[in-house]
């Protein structure tokens, strides 16, 4: 076996899901080795020592792999765990991590596919799937808002100087969400802003792993939300639907006029009220430093 094939083989063994007792599977469950006993498989490339078999030695890595990913996932989605319950969360987490192992050098991106995956696999959340999806939206948005980039903001005078129909951009850290539930209330209540650090330590941290939260009981209520940061701390800001539409329009690259047209489509507000509202929005957005110049503004707009 050359180095590349050896590493591919070892990775497959190390990343194979654990048993319910958090041990290495006695037999191959991936199909890669036709269901053969794992001690045979591992014995082909790992040497035993006087105290441990080849199986037991590789099992250390198998367990470390899963403990590390599970710990990261726990830290990123504590409110999801509270909503679906610890048992369902374990199954959801292991199924997701099997379907979407890390494809990034950083564990920060581990949950990047969770929303799409849960949408495709709603049975993992049970009856609370819609709330679970909203909570995932909020928890993932927190990760993005925490360390996404920030460009020089435009103040209200600079925005005014861009003309009547400028193209504007939103700071990459500003996350816009349209929710079925006011899931921000739930997440705010229980999200512990403990940031994960990469390290070499391989042990499973004990802190917070088994702590059960009781989530707030929420009623369905359409909610538009921005998650952003001020002075490097995360904040949540509720938006009106037209405000949300305007901001998503700007993010999609619409000009201001196009974004506002989309935002007020079907609105019963008279034009004067709309103008007042837009002025208030811009004053707030500029104060919060949400607006910046687009990287590549469209020519002629």
């Amino acid at each position: 076996m050359n180095l590349e094939e050896l590493q591919r083989t070892m990775a497959a063994a190390v990343m194979q899901p654990l048993t319910d007792e958090e041990e290495m599977q006695p037999r191959d469950t991936t199909g890669r080795w036709q269901g053969r006993p794992m001690d045979e498989v591992v014995g082909q490339f790992i040497a035993p020592n006087s105290r441990l078999t080849a199986f037991e030695r590789l099992e250390i890595y198998n367990r470390q792999y899963w403990f590390r990913l599970q710990t990261a996932f726990h830290e990123d989605f504590p409110a999801l765990r509270a909503v679906v319950g610890p048992e369902r969360f374990e199954a959801l987490m292991n199924a997701y991590l099997t379907a979407h192992p890390s494809r990034s050098f950083t564990l920060r991106n581990l949950g990047s596919n969770l929303l799409d995956w849960l949408f495709q696999n709603p049975h993992f959340a049970g009856r609370k799937i819609k709330l679970a999806l909203d909570v995932v939206r909020v928890e993932w948005a927190c990760i993005e808002a925490f360390d996404n980039s920030e460009f020089a903001p435009l103040n209200i005078e600079e925005i005014a100087a861009l003309g009547a129909n400028p193209q504007l951009a939103l700071q990459p850290y500003v996350q816009l969400l349209a929710l079925d539930y006011p899931a921000d209330d739930l997440v705010l209540d229980m999200h512990r802003r403990q940031r994960r650090e990469s390290s070499e330590a391989g042990a499973r941290p004990e802190a917070d792993q088994d702590e059960d939260f009781t989530p707030l009981r929420l009623r369905k209520h359409a909610t538009w939300l921005a998650i952003h940061r001020v002075d490097y701390s995360l904040y949540y800001k509720r938006l009106t639907q037209p405000e949300y539409r305007t901001l998503t329009g700007l993010r999609a690259g619409l000009t201001l006029a196009e974004a506002l047209e989309s935002a007020f489509a079907g609105s019963r507000l008279n034009v004067a009220s709309q103008v007042r509202q837009v002025q208030q929005w811009f004053a707030t957005w500029a104060q919060l430093s949400w607006l910046c110049a687009p990287a590549n503004p469209s020519v002629g707009q």
């Binding site: 590493q7 990775a11 020592n49 050098f105 980039s149």
Partner: protein, 291 residues
């Protein structure tokens, strides 16, 4: 000896790993720590609080970057995005040298986020050395590779771990981050004499030394970085300093992190070994000491 081309001729003294639970203490008290080691990947991001805090730290302290996912021993080419972000951080921190591990951890774009051991083969020597050279050329600072703790050995291995390390660093012409705790952990897990390892490494290539604690189980030791340094590891450290001279030394404490004072007090125990070595190094008549 201690200040050499693999640590940009710096002699940083004793440092500790920069960890979030210690931020408040550091900013409030500005303790006299010689330097902090940062985990590169924690700061290879686009913005936000982590980079802001790093910038604040760098106003008062020297920092050195230590990576956990370059995977010098991976058989496939490095992730270009990873390299780009790493270089960007190098330019921000002005780290005098950069370290990562003699291990592998990703294949076909999937990451284990673990420091997986290599088979000690000539093929692995050639591929690992080539990758270290590639990274070193790209980031344009000296690179030091760290020996890892391991729990498994490969049937294919053709040499000892220290022979493998020596071959790799010679071919890559890079430095060594000598982790004496990792040597101890692996020596127990693989039944070799740890002092043989320390005595075999090329002292002139040691850019930095790591010390740390670990957890002993019935049949093996796990490198958990959650305990003080034990005496046998201090003995390895003493011998390493005897051979290498007063080398930049870093205590790792990554889990169940105690107060700043406790971590710093543990790290400063290294000064007992470093100070005599520094005096000896400054005495011109003591050339030819046992190395």
């Amino acid at each position: 000896m201690s200040a050499n081309r693999f640590n940009a001729y710096q002699n940083h003294g004793v440092g500790i790993g920069l960890r979030i639970p210690h931020y408040d203490h550091i900013f409030a008290h500005q303790p006299a720590v010689d330097w902090f080691e940062i985990i590169s990947e924690n700061y290879m991001i686009d913005g936000g609080r982590p980079l802001h805090m790093l910038d604040r730290i760098m106003e008062h302290y020297k920092v050195v970057q230590h990576g956990v996912s370059m995977y010098f021993g991976s058989a496939q080419p490095p992730d270009r995005e990873h390299l780009r972000r790493l270089k960007s951080l190098v330019q921000r921190t002005k780290t005098p040298w950069l370290s990562d591990h003699l291990c592998w951890g990703s294949i076909d774009g999937t990451y284990s986020h673990d420091l997986l051991p290599l088979p000690y083969t000539w093929e692995a020597v050639a591929k690992t050395a080539a990758r270290i050279r590639e990274v070193q050329d790209f980031v344009e600072v000296p690179v030091a590779v760290e020996n890892v703790s391991s729990y498994a050995e490969f049937l294919d291995s053709e040499m000892t771990e220290w022979e493998f390390l020596n071959e790799v660093v010679e071919r890559a012409d890079c430095g060594i981050l000598l982790d004496v705790n990792n040597i101890y952990v692996s020596s127990v897990n693989h039944d070799f004499a740890p002092m043989d390892y320390v005595n075999a490494i090329p002292a002139e290539r040691v850019a930095q030394i790591h010390i740390a604690g670990h957890t002993r189980y019935e049949k093996y030791i796990l490198d958990t970085h959650d305990h003080p340094v034990i005496d046998p590891v201090w003995q390895l450290y003493a011998r390493a300093v005897e051979r290498c001279g007063p080398t930049p030394t870093l205590l790792e404490w990554d889990d169940r992190i105690p107060s700043f004072e406790e971590v710093w007090a543990e790290a400063r125990k290294a000064e007992k070994y470093l100070t005599p070595a520094k005096s000896a190094a400054e005495e011109p008549q003591l050339t030819g000491a046992a190395r």
